[in-house]
C-alpha cells in the first residue's frame, strides 16, 4: 500500500537526518581521535577524521594487557547470565504486582519503590556482600544486580496496559497464574522485555566497580571494563587534596587522550551491537497481531 509523501514526511525526514548528524558527532570524534597519532592529538582540532592515521593506540592497549581476551569473555558471560536472570526475576515480580488482586501487592510495591531512593552507602553494602560470602565469586555479579525497581515498574506498567480479555479467558479455562504468566503475559510483553533486556545488558556490561570492590582477588572473574579502567585509570581528582607533589604523580599516570578514546571505543562497540538485534521487537503491532493469530 503506497502512500503519498506529505510535507510532514519531508520535514520529518530532514529533521531526523539532522538528529543523526548531531548525535553521531561525539562518537565519530572519539573514533577519529582514537585512530590519530597521540602526539598530534595534543595539537587539537580533530573532528571526525584522523589527521595522522595510526593503529598504535589500539596496539598499545592490547599490548599492555594479556588478560583482555579472557576479560572480554567474562564480560559476555556476566552480561548474558545477568540479563537472563534479571529478565526472569523482573518479569515475575512485575506480573505479581500487575495483579491488583494479589494480596501482597501494596506491600511489595512499596518495598520495591523505596529501594530506588534509599541506599545504605558503600560500607554497609560491602560488609553485607562480604558476610554473604560473595567476595571473589561469580554470583557477586548476578545477585546484587538481580532486580532494579525501575525496571520492574516499567514492565508492570506495560502489563497494566495489556488487554486483559485473554487473561480472563485463560482463567476460565482453568490455567493457573504461572501458566498465564508464561504462556500469555510474556509473549505479549516482548517489546518491554526487549527494552529491559537492553537496560540490564548495558548495566551489566558497563559495571566495573563491583569487579574492583568484590572480585579483584580472583583473576578469572576480571571483566573487560575493569581491565580497561585499569589502563585508563583516569585518576579522578577532587579538588580537595591536590598539591604539587602528588599532582605530579597523578599527571604521570594519566594517559594521552588518544588512548582514552581508543578505550572508549573498545569498551562500547560490543554492547552497541545488542540494540540492532533487539530492534525487531519494537515494530508496531507485532505483539497484538501475534496474540490474535
Amino acid at each position: 500500500m503506497k502512500k503519498k509523501w506529505t510535507v510532514f514526511d519531508i520535514v520529518l525526514t530532514i529533521f531526523m537526518a539532522f538528529v543523526i548528524v548531531v548525535t553521531l558527532y561525539p562518537f565519530l570524534n572519539i573514533l577519529a581521535i582514537s585512530l590519530n597519532d597521540a602526539v598530534d592529538t595534543a595539537r587539537g582540532g580533530i573532528h571526525i577524521w584522523p589527521r595522522e592515521f595510526t593503529l598504535a593506540n589500539y596496539q598499545e592497549i592490547f599490548g599492555s594487557n594479556d588478560l583482555l581476551f579472557q576479560a572480554f569473555l567474562m564480560s559476555i558471560i556476566r552480561t548474558v547470565v545477568g540479563t537472563i536472570t534479571g529478565i526472569i526475576a523482573s518479569t515475575m515480580l512485575a506480573y505479581t504486582l500487575s495483579r491488583k488482586d494479589f494480596v501482597l501487592n501494596g506491600f511489595v510495591g512499596l518495598l520495591l519503590v523505596l529501594t530506588m531512593f534509599i541506599s545504605g552507602g558503600l560500607i554497609p553494602e560491602y560488609m553485607l556482600i562480604r558476610n554473604l560470602g560473595l567476595i571473589n565469586d561469580f554470583s557477586v555479579y548476578i545477585l546484587p544486580m538481580l532486580l532494579t525497581a525501575f525496571n520492574v515498574i516499567v514492565i508492570r506498567s506495560f502489563m497494566d496496559n495489556l488487554p486483559v480479555a485473554l487473561e480472563e479467558s485463560a482463567k476460565i479455562d482453568g490455567a493457573n497464574d504461572f501458566v498465564i504468566f508464561s504462556k500469555i503475559i510474556i509473549p505479549l510483553c516482548m517489546p518491554v522485555i526487549a527494552t529491559i533486556a537492553l537496560f540490564l545488558a548495558v548495566a551489566q556490561w558497563n559495571s566495573w566497580f563491583d569487579t574492583y570492590l568484590y572480585a579483584r582477588g580472583n583473576e578469572a572473574l576480571t571483566t573487560l571494563q575493569f581491565e580497561l579502567m585499569k589502563i585508563l585509570d583516569n585518576a579522578n581528582i577532587s579538588s580537595g587534596d591536590i598539591n604539587s607533589q602528588n599532582a605530579e604523580v597523578i599527571a604521570g599516570k594519566t594517559n594521552p587522550q588518544s588512548i582514552k578514546m581508543a578505550i572508549t571505543i573498545i569498551a562500547t562497540v560490543p554492547i552497541l551491537l545488542v540494540y540492532p538485534f533487539l530492534q525487531k521487537y519494537f515494530v508496531t503491532g507485532l505483539t497484538l497481531g501475534a496474540v490474535k493469530s
Binding site: R43, Y126, I242, Q257
Partner: protein, 562 residues
C-alpha cells in the same frame, strides 16, 4: 526468524555451560592456593608473596627484570593493589572489613590506619634490624615520627633523603622567542614580565596566522591550584606549603590568601586581563584546549609546572618549534622577594609505607623494606641490572646508550624494565646522595639535564652566559633548609575544624579570586575586601591557629625548633 532464535538459544546454553565449568574449576584452584600459603622462610625458589596497597599505584605485574632480581635477593614477591579509577574509599573499606594487605602506602590516610590499629609500630624493628634504614635516614629519622602525642614510627619511605636541585619543577615561564626577539632582557619582576609580553605582543599580534595569547592559565578544574593559586605564592616569595604561608622560624602559619602580597599578585592578573593580555578563556577552557593552544606555539607565557604541559612541549619540539618552548624565570612581585623554586625542604617524612597489624609476614615485610634501603637495592632500583641496563666503565656506572635513550623518551621504559619503578614510594636516597664509592646513587645528574636541553634552549642560555636555567634563581644554599617540611604534606585529622574550614576557604577563594581577576579593575579592591570578610566569617583565624599548632608540633617532633 524462528531458526535465528534457536541458534541464539543454543549459543546461550553453550555459554551457560561454559560458565558453570569455569566457575567450578575456579573455586578448586582458589582453595589450592590457600593451602600452599603456609608460613615458610622466604627464598628465591619459593618466594613469599606480600600484598602491597599503593595509593599511587598503577597496573603492574611484579615480573620485570628488576623485580625478579629483588625476589632473588629477598625471596619476596609483591602483589600490587591500588585504588582503580581514583577510588578514595579503599582505606575506609579496608578498615571496616579488617582485610589489610601486608604493606600499605596510604599517603594522607595513614592517620586513620594508625587510629584503627591497622598498622604496627616500627621503632623496635628499626632498632633491632633496621641497619639500612638507620643508615639512610640518619639524623632525619625523627621526621618519620607520627606526632607529638604518639611519637612512634609507623611508616618508612616516600621521598628521597638528600636532594640536590638542578631544575625547577616549574614557575613563570616565557617563550624563548620572546627573549630572543627582545634582545635577552633581564626579567625578574612581574613588571619586567608584563613589559616583555606587551612588547612582543604589539610586534606580533598573530603567530602562524592565529591570534597571539600573551598569558594563558588553566583555572577551570583542580589545576586552578597549579596555575593560579601556587604561582601567586611563588611570586610573593612563599615556599611550597600549599595553601599556607609558613614562617619557618616561628612556625606561624597563615592561610595565604589573607596576605596583602597575594592580593597584589591577583591585582596584577586583573590588570593583565583588563589590558587584554590574559587569555579570556583561562578559567573556562578544558585541559585539552589549553594543551592544544600551547602546542600551536601562540601562547607567549604560562605559570605552570613542567609536568602539566609536557605534552605540549613534546608536540612543539616534534614540530621543530623549539623557539616556542619555554624558559623558567625567577619572577617575583619585586626586588624584595626571593623565588623559592630551588628550596630544599629536607626529608619531608609524613607519608610512607606501613606494615599491617594482620600481616602474617611482619618480620619479612620489614626485612624487605630495610633491604630496599640498602645501597645494593638503591643501585638496583635506580640503575637496573649491571650488564643489561648499565656497565661499569673505569669504575663508574654508565647507563647503556639505548637505556638512556628510552629512559628519556619512552614512557613505558620503567614499567617494562623495572628501572626506576621501585623507587617511589619505597625508602629512597635523593638525587644528591652518593654511595660508598662516592658515586651518585641516582642516574640523574646536572650534566644530563643540561645535555637534554633543546637547541633553542642552549642558545638562549649561552646568550645569558648561563649553563642551566637554575643559575638565575636564588640558590638552594641561599634559601636554606626548611625546618618544618611542607605544610600540605601534614596529615590533617578527618572532620577537624581545620580540614573543614580549609576546604570551605579553598572553595571560596577559588571562586572569588577568579571573579575578581575577570572583573573591572575599579571593583577589584572591593571584591578582595569582601572575600577577606567572608573568610573571616568562616573563622579562618581558627584554621590559622590549628595549622600553626601543627607546624610547631612538627618542628618540636623533628627537633628543628630551637
Amino acid at each position: 526468524m524462528k531458526r535465528k532464535l534457536s541458534n541464539w538459544a543454543l549459543f546461550l546454553i553453550f555459554l551457560l555451560g561454559f560458565f558453570v565449568l569455569a566457575a567450578c574449576s575456579d573455586s578448586e584452584t582458589g582453595q589450592g592456593d590457600d593451602q600452599s600459603d603456609k608460613k615458610e622462610e622466604p627464598s628465591a625458589e619459593d618466594p613469599i608473596t606480600l600484598s602491597f596497597f599503593s595509593a599511587d599505584g598503577t597496573e603492574k605485574e611484579f615480573n620485570d627484570p628488576v623485580a625478579q632480581k629483588i625476589t632473588e635477593e629477598t625471596g619476596i614477591k609483591l602483589e600490587l593493589d591500588y585504588p582503580v579509577g581514583g577510588n578514595d574509599e579503599a582505606i575506609p573499606l579496608m578498615i571496616a572489613s579488617g582485610d589489610y594487605p601486608d604493606l600499605i602506602f596510604a599517603k594522607g590516610d595513614i592517620g586513620k590506619l594508625i587510629e584503627a590499629g591497622g598498622v604496627i609500630k616500627l621503632d623496635d624493628l628499626i632498632e633491632e634490624k633496621g641497619e639500612n634504614l638507620k643508615a639512610m635516614y640518619g639524623d632525619q629519622i625523627n621526621r618519620l615520627r607520627n606526632s607529638i602525642e604518639d611519637p612512634s614510627i609507623y611508616t618508612v619511605g616516600t621521598y628521597g633523603v638528600e636532594n640536590a636541585y638542578w631544575e625547577t619543577s616549574g614557575t613563570f615561564q616565557i617563550q624563548l622567542d620572546v627573549l630572543r626577539e627582545l634582545g635577552y632582557p633581564e626579567i625578574k619582576t612581574l613588571e619586567d614580565f608584563e613589559a616583555a609580553l606587551t612588547e612582543y605582543y604589539e610586534k606580533y599580534p598573530e603567530i602562524d596566522g592565529q591570534k597571539t595569547i600573551p598569558l594563558s592559565l588553566l583555572g577551570s578544574d583542580w589545576r586552578w591550584l597549579i596555575t593560579v593559586g601556587d604561582p601567586a605564592g611563588f611570586a610573593a616569595g612563599l615556599a611550597g606549603d600549599g595553601q599556607w604561608a609558613v614562617d619557618d622560624e616561628t612556625g606561624e602559619a597563615t592561610y595565604k590568601f589573607l596576605l596583602p602580597e597575594l592580593k597584589e599578585y591577583f591585582k596584577w592578573l586583573n590588570g593583565l586581563n583588563a589590558k587584554g593580555l590574559l587569555d579570556p578563556e583561562s578559567f573556562t577552557q578544558t585541559y585539552d584546549t589549553y594543551i592544544s593552544k600551547l602546542s600551536s606555539g601562540r601562547v607567549l607565557s604560562v605559570a605552570d609546572q613542567n609536568w602539566d604541559f609536557a605534552d605540549a612541549d613534546k608536540a612543539l619540539v616534534a614540530d621543530g618549534k623549539e623557539w616556542r618552548t619555554y624558559a623558567p624565570l625567577p619572577v617575583t612581585l619585586g626586588e624584595g622577594y626571593k623565588s623559592q623554586s630551588l628550596k630544599n625542604y629536607g626529608f619531608s617524612g609524613g607519608w610512607g609505607i606501613a606494615i599491617s597489624s594482620t600481616s602474617e609476614y611482619q618480620e619479612e615485610a620489614f626485612e624487605f623494606l630495610d633491604w630496599m634501603a640498602s645501597e645494593e637495592a638503591q643501585i638496583l632500583v635506580n640503575w637496573g641490572i649491571e650488564g643489561e641496563n648499565y656497565d661499569i666503565v673505569d669504575g663508574k656506572r654508565v647507563m647503556q646508550e639505548d637505556d638512556r635513550e628510552r629512559m628519556n623518551n619512552d614512557k613505558d621504559y620503567s614499567k617494562e624494565t623495572g628501572v626506576g619503578y621501585y623507587i617511589y614510594p619505597f625508602p629512597q636516597w635523593g638525587n644528591g646522595a652518593v654511595d660508598s664509592t662516592g658515586q651518585p646513587i641516582t642516574p640523574n645528574s646536572e650534566e644530563q639535564i643540561i645535555e637534554n636541553f633543546n637547541t633553542a634552549e642552549k642558545e638562549v642560555l649561552e646568550e645569558y652566559e648561563m649553563e642551566n636555567w637554575i643559575d638565575c634563581f636564588p640558590s638552594t644554599e641561599e634559601l636554606g633548609i626548611s625546618k618544618h617540611g611542607q605544610a600540605f604534606n601534614y596529615t590533617i585529622p578527618a572532620g577537624s575544624d581545620l580540614q573543614i574550614i580549609q576546604q570551605k576557604a579553598d572553595d571560596l577563594t577559588e571562586q572569588r579570586i577568579t571573579q575578581a581577576i575577570l572583573g573591572d579593575p575599579a571593583d577589584f579592591d572591593k571584591a578582595w575586601d569582601d572575600m577577606i570578610a567572608e573568610l573571616e566569617a568562616m573563622n579562618i583565624s581558627k584554621a590559622n591557629e590549628e595549622m600553626t599548632k601543627m607546624v610547631q608540633d612538627t618542628m618540636e617532633l623533628w627537633g628543628t625548633n630551637e
